[in-house]
Amino acid sequence: MSHIQTMLPALPPPPEALKRYTLSRLVGRALLGVWLAASVGIFLFVVESWSPEKFTKYGPSFISGLGVTLTLVGISIVLGGILSLPLAFGRMTRIKWISWIAYAYVYFFRGTPLITQLFLVYYGLGSFRPYLEAAGLWSLFKDAWFCALFTFTLNTAAYQAEILRGAIQSVPRGQHEGAAALGLPKSVAFFKIILPQAMIVALRPYGNEIILMIKGSAIVAIVTVFDLMGETRRAFSRTYDFQMYLWAAVLYLVMVEMLRNLWAWIEMRLTRHLKR
């Protein structure tokens, strides 16, 4: 039996397959070129109208506006979350009139624009001034910031109630039955078995809702709250410098992207046990 004594010399690698210059590559390069040109144009524009005085004058107000936006959204998300609990259970209950009220509430707040609701509260509640004064609430409702908080809380409660309801109803029936078979009381079954599974389903919609609220909160600038957008508008009306809007855009983008990545990380972390 013979076997080979010498190794074959290594062959050169085969020639690389010629990549065809396809239409999609042409379009892709062209679009990237457009983005590049746009960013260079914006950069030149900013450099051209750059001035340190403006930066020192309006920079701090942008930061304070950012703070206003974040506090407004943070508080309204938390309060809305609390308010969404009775709403979600109202939607799921078998008692007809309660579920109808909850449905009407959710339908109203999800079916009309946030800005219309804000106007309704901020300008519209002024019509009820005598009653509000009698109730001692007028000092709250004449403040634009409070009106915005109030509106956002009611609005996000409607959205969060739907998220919560969808998540709870997405837990399969067998889980309820399993808990009942183990003899667990209803409340323990809900908090220890149903809710943890529902929360994983609800995680992503909650993240989207927070992002939507951050973006939606820009409209408070119209009712004279100086959040990030309000400060931007004020700075723009004083300087007529378009780059103010660009700075605001950058800040909003950074905020939203950070939140999105944070949420992706949280989700990855919390769903480790579901990965195979």
Binding site: T22, S24, R25, V27, G28, R29, L31, L32, V34, W35, Y107, F108, G111, T112, P113, L114, I115, T116, Q117, F119, L120, Y123, G124, L125, G126, S127, F128, I214, K215, G216, S217, A218, I219, A221, I222, M229, T232, R233, F236, F242, Y245, L246, A248, A249, Y252, L253, V256, E257
Partner: protein, 267 residues
Amino acid sequence: MQAAFAALSSIVSWFAGIVDPMCGPIGIFRIFAQDTLLSCGDTGWGDEIAYGFMITASLAICTLPIGLFLGFFIALAKQSQEKSLRLATNIYTTIFRGLPELLTLFIVYYGLQIVVQRVMATLGYEGPVEINAFIAGMVALGVVFSAYCSEVLLSAFKAIPHGQYEAGDALGLHRGKTMRLIILPQLVRIALPGLGNLWMALLKDTALVSVIGLPDILRQTGVAARVTKNAFEFFSIACLLFLILAMVSSLVFSALERWTKRAEAVR
């Protein structure tokens, strides 16, 4: 020719006047709000609000095809093999999904003005340039809509099995024909609920254009509220009109969904 156009437009406006749901001969305001603040004509605000309603509806309807068209091609580009194409479209969606709609609107409205002014200046025209608020609203909302739409369509594309494309190849169909005859009908069916949600969001976002001065529902009711001092009533009417728009479109969408599912087997 011109006379024909004039006649045509007058016929259209006459017809629109007849079927006008608010201030037409059988309009709501005409019948139920005869001598109130909402009556039609010079004494009431009915016709102004009806005009705002029309502006809002037509802005949303004009934006939809632009957004769908752009969104479709962006979704196609996002699943392309070509890295640069994917990168360019991902930048687009990241930007326009991350920015508040109001800010996008301002950037388009003021930014377009600056860009057009500069372009005109290089061409030798040194006058003030003003962008039409309707066009600016259409561009801004269309861009935002297309960014969201591309995500919906992309996930719908991913839900279509690869065998469908292969079947198209096996039948000897051209690439475009495969898309049109095999992929698109399924795509519409899968994407319709998502697109319905986007349409609702678009309807609500149209309220923002009142800020740049377009006389839509919110602006008209706002003016009425300021003049008559009946803010609560008028903004409630604005909410009600948006609710009506939402209800009508949910009816249309459920009808559309039924229509696209007509070929599916009954279960």
